[in-house]
Amino acid sequence: MSGDSVSTFQFLGLTFNTTNIISGLLAAIIVVVIVFAFSRNLKLKPTGKQNVLEWLIDFTNNIVRGSVTNGDAPNFGLYAFTLFLFIFVSNQLGLFLQIGWNGVTYVRSPTSDPIVTLTFSLMTLMLAHFSGVKKLGFKKYFKESYLTPFKFWLPISVFTELIDFLTLGLRIYGVIFSGEMLLKFIGEMAFSGGVGMTIVAVPIAFIWQGFSLFLGSIQAYVFVTLTSVYISQQIQTEE
């Protein structure tokens, strides 16, 4: 994909990538449609769709509750739920839908671009640090996060935060990007050398698509889990 040309445009002095915008908005719209459809006609005695939605909410709530304790978990339930759905849909989007035109791919997984995953990572860490400051007060937050166990631990702590930010974002990017690239490669292979290659490539494509589906789900889960871990690190004192 790095070989592809990208379509960008300038707006208000900022550079925008058309692909990311279209894909991201599409993912967001899909999430909204799913959630909207599943949350119609809510009943006290849940049926079908409502069960699925409630199971999802319980799922993400349990992820948050796994690391964030002391009754803070409900505050991050919505964030985790939205993050999980958005990343999940983003991961799977490129597996089913890749629209390219004139050598530019317009629709693919938004998470196969590091800028997008790093944005999520940055949001998570900002939320974590903001929650830490809000809960403990700036002084205590600073002491807990950077000056523990010793004062001269500060550079290492700062570096750790940077590493957290990068690994959280690049992990998911790596998996999704490589998955899509391989899928694309298999697709190109299928049309490169006659009927024989196609017959060989189709099952491989199927297998790889299934595996990517699995990887995308796992990555969404991992991202939300790490998010809650980072949040809990910031809002809980380690004394």
Partner: protein
């Protein structure tokens, strides 16, 4: 990856994308909250409340039922006691009544006996009186007969015989 980042950097980093994604994410969060998260969590909470309420009320109704059963049992016991007192009362009344009846019958028999005795006595007295009257009238008759005739032994004998004869006649006629 590196070339991609370099490419991004060379065109100046896609800061717009980052901003857009952050904004889209916040809007998405808000929409989800309004559309699904709010109502569903509310519903889930309602359900949890309902279940706990149901458990409480079930507990309450069970204790109520137990209390009621206890009351019923007590009432049953009471009614048993009442029934036995009623039966014993009836028995008592029966024996009392029987005694009364027997006593009154005895009394009646006594009075009947007394009355009969009285009647018998009366009759005896009447008979005695009648006999006395007879003797008296007989004596008078004898006396008058004696007086009518100057009596000798023969006559006297005749007289007595006639008298006895008359007596027998009188007895027969009677």
């Amino acid at each position: 990856m590196l070339s991609h980042l370099m490419l991004g950097a060379s065109n100046s980093l896609y800061l717009g994308d980052m901003l857009l994604y952050a904004i889209v994410f916040v809007i998405l969060m808000w929409v989800i909250k309004v559309v699904a998260w709010g109502p569903v969590t509310k519903m889930m909470k309602e359900r949890a409340d309902r279940i706990s309420n149901d458990i409480d009320s079930a507990k309450k109704s069970r204790t109520d039922a137990e209390k009621l059963a206890e009351q019923r049992e007590e009432a049953l016991k009471n009614s048993h006691a009442e029934a036995s007192t009623i039966v014993s009362n009836a028995k008592d009344n029966g024996t009392k009544l029987r005694e009364q009846i027997v006593a009154s019958a005895q009394q009646e028999a006594q009075t009947l006996k007394q009355n009969a005795q009285k009647d018998i006595e009366q009759e005896r007295k009447d008979a005695l009186k009648g006999a006395q009257n007879d003797v008296a009238s007989l004596s008078i008759e004898i006396a008058s007969k004696i007086i009518q005739k100057e009596l000798n032994a023969q006559d006297q004998k005749q007289l007595i015989d006639s008298y006895i004869e008359g007596l027998g006649k009188q007895n027969e006629s009677r």
